[in-house]
Amino acid sequence: MVINVKENAPDSGLGHTMVDALNMALAYEMRVNKHVVVLGEDIGVNGGVFRVTDGLLKKFGRERVLDTPLSETLIVGMSIGMASQGLRPVAEIQFSGFVYPGFDQIVNHASRLRNRTRGVLTCPMVVRMPSGGGIHAPEHHSESVEAFFTHVPGLRVVIPSSPKRAYGLLLASIRDPDPVIFLEPTRLYRLGKEVVEDTGEALPLDRCFVLREGKDVTLVSWGASIHETLLATDALLKEGVSAEVIDVATLKYLDEATILQSVKKTGRLVVIHEAPEMSGFGAEIMARVLERGLYFLLSPPRRIAGFNCVMPLYRLEEHYIPSVERIVAEVRELLAAS
């Protein structure tokens, strides 16, 4: 199955932001499933620092919307305990740069509980966290951490890039019987709107989304970088370059078939992501294409990623995050060389 998303959305100014969509998904699932609880720092009374959980406390009460002490290890570890008892906790880590104290619990326990107990205890939980740069906050507020988690057996890793996909993928993540790391690109939280129907319909957790069809080059990306990738695609089209854009919203598990099929058609692959290039998830995609689709390629594949530097404070951010101009230029180079 290939999921084509044609609309991808010049902003009409109408409808819902990604924050709205995430909030709608949480409210929907809390309404239909009494086992769903949300927990984290400042998520109740304050509605979350990005307001994703706004209004849930009023709707669902203090027993299901839990303002926790400031303690990431505990937020994740407690969610594991809740999940083992049949609740469906959706934990918020305020920024992905603060997840590391909870990393121990995610890697050593959440991802392993089912395997460790051979299915006697399970861990259906979601750990949501804002991800990536572009919001002019201090250090640690702009990290792209997906590769840490894709490496861990037993986890799913999801990162949406539009309000509709945020809605459908968050629903799917909460309904999944196992732990899901759900990364939310802060740059896209309020960047565009689309009308999201609150139907409760989930999206699959193992399929790429083809956002643009093209024949010259396959651009694979996810999260916030989808925004720059689409703008670059528009610019390239004006030069007569037809790029296919694939949103790998479910990094794990990767829909390799859709990517290979596209590379077979275009003969060229560029992977674009904001996280540092070194050991980034782009390397995994590239390795898979080289292992299974080397002979489709007309030119060496390429990664356009964050440099192997510390994510800078925001005044240097534009030098770090792959820009529209950089994507256009590198795709041009690639095409010129083949």
Partner: protein, 371 residues
């Protein structure tokens, strides 16, 4: 102007001294002599099991093993105080509590052997312990799970409670403080039992913290029932945990019980305790052995003698042998296959893993370094 704004105290409770004498305040109603006898039998069985497990490791029939020798009274006391519906969130040394919460001690012993014998099926709890957590290896991390389970009970308004054990070493960890803090803030139905056996592997209790007691660590978290008990006195452990659980189920919040005991064996079979403690120290500790004390008490009450002891030793060895037999039967005749590495990662095996699973199944076990 200065004034005192808070004052705290920690009590220490012992009902049976190391010679088996009942102290004056020994609880008259509980426990009955039948129960005391049963507790002693369980402790002896655990001791026999421990010896056998170490032998299995030494003879290459099982992997690294952590003995619970010397700490049996803590496990027996806390497990006896728990009811059906309560959940145990243990360390990796809670063998006796696991035995008491399984379908049978033999079945639990087989699983403990499987766990240390490198087979995940050893973590499949059963019986009244079916919701219990498996042995937790990363120190102190289980305290957070206990808070989550207790939260679930509170959210669902169930009259259930959690017992979470943690070693003295674990009380140095952030996880422990974070868990106590939240349990206190939310007044959760959880009892933290600190099994203070004197050592974090090689680091003795006095070098781990300057805190006078470990129980007092609960006070800063707003936990109102924080006590120290003689962990080699099964009656003291039982009584403290019983009251703490009663409070928890009645909505009166969490507790911290520090049980003072001593790890008579090495940390694990991979450890050599002679490197960091003297044989004199161990000799002194052996005089406080919980088994000696329970037996002395039963003899004093006229419920025990040498022939009963002989019979018990025989029964215990037979029971352990039967568990060992099942262990060998499972690993030799019903081993896991390479496929089992894949099928329990998620409820449904993802497509990309099916391919690797096939590969793993099609290949013979390879040679690797080590043993």
């Amino acid at each position: 102007m200065k004034k005192e704004v808070a004052r705290f105290a920690i009590t220490h409770t012992q009902f049976v001294d190391e010679n088996g004498n009942m102290n004056e305040d020994f609880p008259q109603d509980v426990p009955s002599s039948d129960i005391l006898t049963q507790w002693y039998k369980t402790m002896v069985l655990t001791r026999v099991f421990d010896g056998k497990a170490i032998n299995l490791q030494r003879t290459g029939k099982m992997g690294t093993y952590a003995s619970s020798e010397g700490q049996e009274a803590v496990g027996v006391g806390l497990a006896s105080a728990m009811q059906e519906g309560d959940v145990l969130v243990p360390t990796y040394r809670e063998h006796v509590a696991q035995m008491m919460r399984a379908d049978s001690p033999e079945s639990a012993m087989t699983k403990i052997l499987l766990f240390w014998g490198g087979d995940e099926r050893g973590n499949m709890r059963e019986g009244i312990g079916k919701d219990d957590f498996p042995a937790c290896v990363p120190i102190g991390t289980q305290t957070c799970h206990a808070v989550g389970v207790a939260s679930a009970f509170k959210i669902r308004k169930e009259k259930r409670a959690v017992v979470c054990t943690v070693g003295d070493g674990g009380t140095s960890k952030g996880d422990f403080y974070e868990s106590l803090n939240c349990a206190g803030a939310w007044q959760l139905p959880v009892v933290f039992v600190i099994v203070n056996n004197g050592f974090a592997i090689s680091l003795s209790r006095d070098k781990q913290t300057n805190s006078l007691t470990l129980a007092q660590k609960g006070i800063a978290a707003g936990i109102h029932f924080c006590q120290q008990v003689d962990g080699n006195d099964v009656v003291a452990v039982y009584e403290a945990v019983r009251v703490a659980l009663q409070r928890a189920r009645a909505g009166q919040g969490p507790s911290v019980i520090e049980a003072l005991t001593y790890r008579l064996s090495d940390h694990t079979t991979a450890d050599d305790a002679k490197r960091y403690r003297s044989s004199e120290e161990v000799k002194v500790a052996r005089k406080k052995d919980p088994l000696l004390r329970s037996r002395a008490l039963l003899e004093r009450l006229g419920h025990w003698d040498a022939s009963l002891e002989e019979e018990l030793q025989k029964q215990s060895h037979a029971s352990v042998e039967s568990a060992v037999k099942s262990y060998f039967d499972i690993i030799e005749n019903h081993p896991q296959t390479a496929s089992d590495m894949f099928v329990f990662l998620h409820e449904h095996i993802p497509e990309s893993l099916v391919q690797q699973q096939g590969r793993a199944l099609s290949e013979k076990k390879g040679g690797i370094g080590g043993h």
